[in-house]
């Protein structure tokens, strides 16, 4: 039987909370806009820690590497960042979306305030 509750082991938002409570420095990436054929819907999440561990997905594997790299910067500075990926992007050869779509990904730090 499935649980009514959200499935904690694969839920990036739950992981972001538990990783942060465990003292890990965490960033959360969210797909905020898509154009054309995009592998993951708006609202999809990726959670990343300062060591580069991650769970979830924002693109089905195409750009996760670049998002994880940017997340390290976001964790370091504490400032959110907006990333855009697509075939029209100059980095397309490295991290473009093979499906031909474009996505915008918002990356923000999870802050452990008092």
């Amino acid at each position: 039987m499935q649980q009514d509750a959200i499935r904690t082991e694969i839920d990036p938002l739950v992981l972001a909370e538990s990783w942060s409570r465990d003292g890990r420095r965490v960033a959360l990436a969210t797909v905020v806009e898509t154009w054309g054929s995009a592998p993951r819907p708006v609202g999809a999440h990726l959670v990343i820690d300062a060591e580069g561990n991650f769970e979830g997905s924002v693109s089905g594997g195409c750009v996760e590497g670049a998002v994880v790299a940017e997340a390290a910067e976001v964790i370091e500075t504490g400032k959110p960042a907006m990333l855009e990926f697509g075939v029209a992007d100059e980095t397309a050869w490295r991290v473009g979306l093979s499906c031909g779509g474009r996505i915008r990904v918002y990356v923000e730090p999870v802050a452990r305030s008092a």
């Binding site: 039987m1 499935q2 649980q3 009514d4 509750a5 959200i6 938002l13 739950v14 972001a16 909370e17 942060s20 409570r21 959360l28 969210t30 905020v32 806009e33 819907p41 708006v42 609202g43 400032k79 959110p80 907006m82 918002y106 923000e108 730090p109 999870v110 802050a111 452990r112 305030s113």
Partner: protein, 237 residues
């Protein structure tokens, strides 16, 4: 995002409470919105209410320029079956395959046995005694399958009053006519009563219990996917 805010958002999600996390893209400022605390003066009020119905996350333009991202969380849809009957035995595995959480309620211990419902979905209780535990909400479908008024009437009235996205009731036209008299007497409005799926299920000429289960599941899915209120990503089981 502030950890406390994230914790509150996750608590709402695990408690089957709809919520929206509003993130201003420029400043990174965030707030958490529950259905009850959308003020009419909120410039995003109409947008927030629409998003709670559709369950869709997305960007919105702010009046003062800039954008905000709305992370919308609505509970996953589930099914409550009143009656541990033959139709339910077929409907439980079908609904689970389709991705729904299912609960079966029946106080009759001859029907409500672990042998008939081996996967822990069963509550061998009177529906009236477990209404609180069932926590019916607009993201729940309820089908009453006993055609025994003592068992079916209370959960039917409760499902209609909280706005379950699907309410169906098994029974002949004559049975349903008598049910109408009883439930209107009990305070159900005629409009609410007439929203009940009866005769239950899609009109596919279903004959066997398993075929009726297919017909009921079809109408539950139709109510979920074709309703202007609930269709969208958030409605994914």
């Amino acid at each position: 995002m502030d950890l406390q805010l994230l914790a509150r958002f996750n608590a709402a999600r695990s408690g089957r409470k709809p919520a929206i996390l509003v993130t201003e893209i420029g400043s990174g400022a965030q707030r958490l919105v529950a259905p009850g605390d959308i003020a009419d003066a909120d410039p995003l009020a109409a947008e927030l209410r629409a998003r709670l119905r559709s369950g869709k996350s997305g960007l919105v333009e702010l009046a003062g320029g800039g954008q905000a991202f709305l992370t919308v969380s609505v509970p996953p849809p589930r099914i409550v079956l009143i009656g541990a009957v033959h139709i339910s035995q077929a409907l439980v595995p079908m609904a689970q395959i389709a991705g729904f959480d299912v609960t079966v309620v029946d106080p009759r211990t001859a029907f409500a046995t672990p042998e008939r419902f081996p996967d822990g979905t069963l509550l061998a209780e009177w529906p009236a005694d477990v209404l609180e535990q069932l926590a019916l909400d607009p993201y729940t479908a309820l089908a009453a399958l006993t055609h025994d008024p003592k068992i079916d009437d209370v959960p039917l009235a409760a499902a209609l009053s909280v706005g379950c996205f699907y309410v169906g009731a098994l029974g002949s036209r004559k049975t349903h006519g008598k049910r109408r008299e009883r439930l209107l007497e009990a305070g159900v409005t005629p409009d609410a009563f007439d929203s009940i799926d009866a005769p239950i299920g899609a009109d596919i000429g279903a004959a066997s219990p398993a075929e009726i289960a297919v017909a009921v599941l079809a109408n539950i899915i139709a109510a979920l996917r074709k309703s202007p209120e609930l269709k969208g990503e958030g409605g994914r089981p």
